[in-house]
């Protein structure tokens, strides 16, 4: 039960959505874009968000696609995590996105919602960081195409009224060797204590993290350390811990010290999976 009234709109084009946003905003209705609704509904129940209008983007054609163009996989923002999990075009994404929440929730949660929402884990983002995908954002001036590594910094950097429409991923990244592990406090279904994803490109490993700090990240500095073969694996892992971009989370899921313990183990597992036994 939501204890406040709000208007509901379902535009057919992104242009219409952006225009609607602008006019609702001007009326003081603090509109929000609505995709799967899992956050909006559950947060609104507890008054953790309040809005006078939701703009449902599920009828916008380009938000619904999951297809290839000549060189890229194109995923619309309202494609559900269940759909991603059950489609094998980008296995790292299927595996990583397929562990968010539970199956019932994944039937609703969209890739756009997972990336743009308030909950800070955003695990389905990690594969796109590793593949250096591009995001298509609809705004007042039509579409913008931006590298996700630039557009995402702690959160997807959107101006008010802008809306994530699609994510484009170069085909060459889709079937590379990968590693993706989610560690939880104890349950099979929970938020991550740590989600670590890695992609091996030639002899270089790219790594992205969720659940470790207050936001998901991929750090070039850490990758330089993790790929520095002049150091032993153990030394690289120790160095990584010293170069995390933000304080380690310390909460009901796990203490900061325990998360670091889990991080070290998981990095060892990653090396083992992608590089085999240490020489």
């Amino acid at each position: 039960m939501i204890g406040f009234d709000f208007e509901y709109y379902r535009p057919a084009t992104s242009n219409e959505a952006v225009k609607l946003y602008e006019s609702l905003q001007a009326q003081g209705k603090r509109p929000v874009y609505y995709a799967g609704g899992t956050e909006i509904v559950t947060f609104a129940r507890l008054n953790q968000i309040e809005t006078g209008a939701v703009i449902d983007i599920n009828s916008i054609r380009e938000c619904r696609v999951y297809q290839f163009n000549t060189s890229e996989l194109v995923i619309g923002a309202t494609v559900t995590l269940t759909h991603l999990a059950e489609t094998s075009a980008f296995p790292l994404l299927s595996v990583t996105g397929g562990r968010v929440a539970d199956h019932t929730a994944r039937n609703q949660i969209t890739i756009g919602g997972n990336i743009c929402g308030e909950i800070n884990y955003k695990e389905a983002l990690l594969p796109f960081l590793l593949a250096e995908s591009n995001v298509i954002i609809a705004g007042n001036n039509g579409y913008q195409d931006k590298p996700i590594m630039e557009a995402f910094n702690k959160r997807l950097q959107l101006e008010p009224g802008e809306c994530l429409v699609q994510i484009l991923t170069d085909r060459k990244y889709l079937n590379l060797p990968y590693f993706s592990v989610k560690k939880r406090k104890i349950d099979v279904i929970d938020y991550p204590l740590l989600t670590l994803t890695a992609l091996k490109i030639d002899n270089t490993i790219r790594v992205a993290f969720s659940g470790l700090c207050g936001y998901p990240f991929r750090s070039r500095e850490i990758e330089t350390i993790l790929n520095n073969h002049e150091l032993s694996r153990e030394e690289r892992i120790e160095q990584t811990v010293l170069h995390l971009p933000a304080p380690v989370l310390d909460d009901w899921i796990g203490s900061a010290e325990y998360r670091l313990f889990v991080l070290k183990n998981t990095l060892e597992d990653m090396y083992l999976a992608l590089e085999g036994e240490s020489l």
């Binding site: 039960m1 204890g3 406090k185 104890i186 349950d187 010290e257």
Partner: protein, 774 residues
Amino acid sequence: MESIGRSVIRKDAVAKVTGAAKYTADLKTVGSLYAKLVTSPYGHARILSIDTSAAEKVNGVHKILTGKDTNILTGEEIKDRPILATDRVRYHGEPVAVVIADTLAIAKQAANLVNVSYSPLPVIRSPKEAYQQGVPLVHEHLGDYEKIAEVFPKPGTNICNHTKIRKGSMEIGWAKSTVVVETEVSFPPSDHCAMETRSVSAEILPNGQVIIHSSSQVPFTIKKMLSSIFGLNQGKITVHTPLVGGAYGGKSAIQLEFIAYLASSAIGGQKVQLINSREEDFITSPVHLGLDAKVKLGCDAEGYLQAAEITLLFDGGAYSDKAVDMSRAAATDCTGPYQVENLWCDSFCMYTNHPYATSFRGFGHPESTFAVERAIERLAEKLGMDPIEFRWKNAIRPGQTTPTQVILNESRIGNVRRCIERVRELINWEEGRRIEITPERIRAKGVSCFWKNSNIDTNAGSGAILKFNEDGTVHLNCGVIEIGTGSRTVLAQIAAQKLGIDVDQIYVEMDIDTSSTPEHYKTVASRGLWMAGRAVLAAAEDAIGQLLNVAAQVFRVSLDDLDIGKGFVFLKDNPARKLALKELVYGYVYPNGNAIGSQVIGRGSYTLRGMTFLDPKTGKGVPGPDWTVGAQAVEVEWNKRDYTYKILRAVTVIDAGTIINPKLAQGQVKGAMHMGLSFASREGFIFGPNEVVETTQFRTYKVLRYGENPDYTVDFVVTPSRETAYGLRGIGEHALIGMPAALANSLSTAAEVHLNRLPLTPELIWRMKTGGVR
């Protein structure tokens, strides 16, 4: 035609699997108003002001009540709890105001606009802290509260009950002990997590009749409490309880009923519905208590227990409710099912600034058992004796005495040793209790025993009515609530067996109406079948007497020439001469039209006998009619590298007496095991600053899901009770009791470290093993 020992499908099955079953919140009627609570965001704070003006302006709001409208204290044993907080709040989630409105959405909207100004106060964060001298008092006027005689609060402290058990001589006990261990255990409060959140409605008719609907284990107590608190004649109050979607003790507390009654009363009697959100059900309504405990045990060189000194500090939370009673119950069975000649136990129920506690499946026993069984494990280890052998050796037997000095016989105690022997076989103890499968993976086993008596009112009882239809089918009417255990189906089996008819001929309505349903004390303490079974047997015997009386006249024979079975009353020496029940149940009509006899209504009732209050100085007394006992084992696979573990198997062997319905009995045992493992492995509230509960949703408060469960093995030892219907024993709670200890014992064995805290998360094991250094 045998009904006993058959896995009859439960009478509520079809309604439940088709979704047709109705629960309290489903009973919506036109004209119902809706209530929404405003609750405390602090664990302890002074209420400076409450401004309801903005909320009152919302269109559709009828009334807003605050503490000043409800200046009444409530409580089962100590009247310490205001219906709505007045000058201060003592726990996070405590009701402060209630909004009554046309719709739930409006009520919710207005509740958000009630502006309460608080000034936070220092908090009591654990029972151990509550017990220290000089700490803030949760209740400064404890000495002024009204209370029953059998509870012993200590004004000027945070102690709301103190139970003393004194048996034998500690001096002799310690002198005989060659090996002594001391163990401390601790775990936070947690929750029942019933699927159905608590919900009620209240309506007051123009003639003053009060109608309550409540998802409750205690509708008859609701009637009595409303009567005593608000000065109403009991005849004016009717409480309805339909099917209840899980209770586990949590629905034996009365809380929302008072609020809904006041709400309805404040608006002229219109029906008001009040339904807990999940968050409210987690913390606003009462929870499962926490514990800090210390156990000192001594045994002689042969491994016989000689002395036990046990201090239990229960976290009863901000109000006493049933926690005081649970702290007493835990004391009465504090040793577990072991013979201990010399015993000293102090059980304290402490006030803290946590959500207040009420009954939880096992009623103080899973908690105290965790403490004692961890100590026993350690004692056996120190002595160098196999822990299962140690338990078998000390298992309590007929002729020995309990902590409250009850002398046992076979009917009262069953067979603990047989349960231990069978568990040993089923868990394959001989193969070894710690096996390294690989350098990283360790498989380990742990055991625990359990026992439990009921600790309910000394005059608790039950009643039943059997009402016949013309065609010979029967309606069974009794006050045991269908909380998910299937008890009402088993009671039908008992009636069918006695009446000699098929159980399909017996109909059981699932709704309770306290004005027409014979009273069953409370559907708690695994006493449903125990007491109502006797009442149903008595009702069946009463009905049989009436049937035989008519038949004797028809056949012109004496009563003892007749017998009943297969739907007929017949002559013992010539079964071919018989009358169908349908020819008798409304009286017999002769061919000429004359009638004899009349409608058969079987009535029966039962009250526990021989129960006594406990002696306040020694605890001597009879806390209940018998103990159900058993032994349990858990097998885990623990990963030495990352400290994670899997629960592979769990085994329970319980002396269940006669099994009336095997599938339902197994279901009860497995369900309790699952709940125990969930509680022990992952539950427990996490508190933030000012003791605010951070885990009030299933997103953050985790329970063991279906599919995450280990393999469950259940087996029964059968020592029939001599007091109950067909020799059954209560088994609703018991298989939860030993699970936390068995899990902790298995993991302690695996990780070779003493794990004395719950929940047993991988991080806890890592921390205990490494000191928390990464």
